[in-house]
Symmetry: C2
Subunit: 225 residues, 2 copies
DNA sequence: ATAAATTTAGACACGCTTGTCTAATTCGTC
DNA sequence: GACGAATTAGACAAGCGTGTCTAAATTTAT
């Protein structure tokens, strides 16, 4: 209601700074303690803000949770699709480029603070808010899978890969990427760059052993040996 | 204190039945609502028991959570190692037997009610009880990985597979097994037998494309072509 | 410097949950 | 049928968390 009806100026500077810090603190606390376990006083304290300010910005607790999820979702999706755009469509060195892509995917999307928060929040609260879960699934994993599947299909068409079902290949690629990192992801620990690189290397090596064409260059005509 | 000091009879029949039903209900509610969100009245109601009985059996709420986790962990580990024992050590049809093994693993351990409960409980409460998380990790995933890695190493030694790092192969096998089921697992839905079989087939097919020996039978001498 | 908007600390009512206690009731056994 | 153990319903105090309110202090823009 009292947000800022007309934008003579987008918002007071301290105002939006506090809004941000509230959302960040709330995300941390919701993740750590769960919705019911998170208490507003703690969120306010971690945000360096008074309790009343939290209520001024976001109404009640339920609303705050939704704001947190929307905030993280938006940022997370932006990062995700920016990263997907760097997929190696016309690779010179497929293995190296896929590894680099996998590293980016892990760093920017899956192992990032946002990515982990979002997954844990959805997993904790999804059972109580089915439409929340459905929305996340449709906009997150399902879109990721289908986008990635399209890229892999292209690589198959251009003869770089030999793939029966691109959707399966996409899911397997993502599963392999995380095979070595799942345990760390479950706890608070953030994966080292070295660990991420190693995980990506292992994953891509196996993925390519499975999906690299077995006969040399059965490519579609316009690629000549 | 008032459990049953001497076992003239192990415990009243209704007594242990109620204990079981309390643990089951508590597991459900803790999973659904989180530790703080779970309330004893609800657990008692779902167990078909009075609130006081819950306190009689398990002291306070914290204690009840520990009892639930211990209960599920024990059952879960028993199933896990029973299933691991059915690994195809001397396969005639490696692909078929690995698929069957993967199906058993998913049905008995990963997609089972206990498996899902345990994972969600640990993920929710692990951050607040580090030793809980550590115990689960050491007894669950780490042991699974190492047991599975040993089996794969054996298959590699006998020439059925060509594996650089058996630990990596084991993690990748498990990751592939779940690639198609992760989303369903996150929600309440239980995977169909058909889905589990299909997921296992996809996984094993890819796994074997990656790890089956490329040159025919470079086996260790005693296997003759 | 002044006026408007925002933030703050604190107090407050209200509801819910935990854990205990008691007295009545049911259950299993002899 | 009678006994003891377990279970039950209900009341209860104490603590905590939410959300509201007020009056003072602080920030921001004019």
């Amino acid at each position: 209601m009292k947000e800022n009806p007309f934008p003579h100026f987008p918002a007071a500077r301290g105002h939006s700074a506090k809004r941000t810090s509230i959302l960040e603190a709330a995300a941390r606390v919701f993740c750590r303690e769960g919705f019911t376990g998170a208490n507003i006083d703690l969120i306010a304290a971690e945000a360096g803000v008074s309790r009343q300010t939290v209520y001024n910005h976001h109404g009640d607790k339920e609303n705050l949770l939704l704001a947190v999820i929307k905030d993280i979702t938006d940022r997370s999706n932006a990062g995700l699709f920016a990263t997907l755009a760097t997929f190696p469509d016309q690779p010179k060195d497929l293995e190296a480029e896929l590894i680099a892509f996998a590293v980016r995917l892990n760093q920017n999307c899956i192992c990032s603070k946002d990515g982990k928060f979002l997954r844990k929040l959805i997993e904790s609260e999804g059972e109580r808010n089915p439409e929340l879960f459905a929305g996340w699934r449709d906009e997150g994993p399902l879109k990721t899978w289908s986008a990635l599947a399209a890229r892999f299909a292209r690589l198959a068409y251009s003869g770089h890969l030999e793939i029966d079902d691109p959707d399966v290949a996409a899911r397997q690629f993502l599963a392999l990427i995380n095979a070595d990192l799942q345990l760390q992801a479950m706890f608070g620990e953030i994966a080292t760059d070295e660990q991420i690189r190693s995980a990506a290397t292992n994953a891509v090596r196996t993925f390519l052993r499975a999906y690299r064409p077995r006969v040399e260059k059965p490519a579609p005509a316009h690629v000549s040996a």
